[in-house]
Amino acid sequence: MAQTNLEKQVNILDYALSSLWRRRMKSLSVLLVFASVIFLLASFQMVTQALSDKAKQVLAYTPEITLQKMSAGRQEAIPLAYKDKLAGIFGIRRVVPRIWGYYFDEVLLANYTVMGMDVDEMPESARLDTALASGRMPTPDEQGRVVVGHSVKKALDIEGRNTFSFFRPNLSLKAFTVSGEFSQGTDILTNDLIVMNLADARDLYAIPAGMVTDLCVYVANPKEIDTIARKISEALPGVRVLTRPQIQKTYQVVFGWRSGFGSICLLTALAAFVILAWDKASGLSPEERREIAILKVLGWETSDILAVRFWESVIVSGLACVVGMTAAYIHVVYFSASLFRPVLMGWSVLRPDLHLLPRMAAGDILMILAFTVIPYLAATVIPAWRSATVPADSALGG
């Protein structure tokens, strides 16, 4: 009995497959549209998850507290003297000043991130050379020496020679010599970076003595971060206190479904499904009605005909899911999500090689299924009820 039932289901599956093959142009089109939508959604999901994961891993080592001075809602230079005001707060291990900002190269239209600090004062500075592909970090007394990221080296075309010049605000030139290059493995953090001494950065941006752009605060006990942050706010009103958990949290939500691009992906999916559902619900063709009436007269039950429609939907949506998600994974991992480049990098001239490796958990797959396969099944099974009620006697008579 069980054997017959199983054989019956396989027979019905055979019929569903041959039915899809008979209408192969239509079936293939639906499959392609469906797979494309899943590809889009899954790619978005994978890219954002891979970037979030990377950020989560890496930003665990960001400074515990970062201080910026705010004025009229905008960031401005912070006095070095504030460092002394922090001396009274228990739990602070050290405070490191930094001058950093952007340098816009008008010839190449590239935006470099320039970082000036005395690296020796930072944690793990002794091991920083391990993050370099070649050369070494400049020492505090070496003037005009920089370590650059991979894209910077390419952009400035300093293969062969290793000097370049930037403009100060008064349009005089400041010369730099490249003493090292960051390893390509660190591209996702350093590709647009130019690291120099605090003094060189101050000179480049003409920032007055006694001012810096921010202060990195390191605490003895990470569990005390919030308490110390609160004390700093009290001691220094008008200062924006950014804690490590806050910075990490940014990257958990920075790629949202409510972002412009996320909404486009979702809306496209919805539009595609409205069209598909409309097509399905807009009734049976005369050929389809005839086929169902014939099958009924030949002894097929209503449930058998429903089973055929159900299998057809499962086959199309299941295949579309597997194809779409596989294509999305290949797109993200082997092609660095190149279709999303315009949105990920926009007009950026400096482009890192993204080595994204998404982690596909069951929850992620289920989420994509919930937005795609389930609506499609609902949109096809419900009209199938109507189709299954075609009366058998309509096959009789001319």
């Binding site: 970062t66 910026q68 991130t113 993050a131 390893s183 660190t186 953090l189 647009d192 990257y251 080595h355």
Partner: protein, 93 residues
Amino acid sequence: MRPALVFSLLLCLLLALDGALFVDGLSRRKAEDATLAQLEVATSALGLTDLAVATEARYTRHPAVSDPMAPFMDHPGAIEHFPTGAFWLPPQH
């Protein structure tokens, strides 16, 4: 060959491809772990706070530490004109 068998074979082929991708993913993850150490050192020693992906605007390059006025630097009701602004959201705090 019955259609159900052909379909099963096709499905097996796709799943075999997925299996191969999974295995390759495992080896890639191993390689990635090697560079993770370098990234950790770079973040720590340079006090980095953001991923360097979208370098066209400062609030997409440094979303975690940009001031809230940055996207409106041109004027208060400024409409987003950087493509990456559609993808890189500002922080919620």
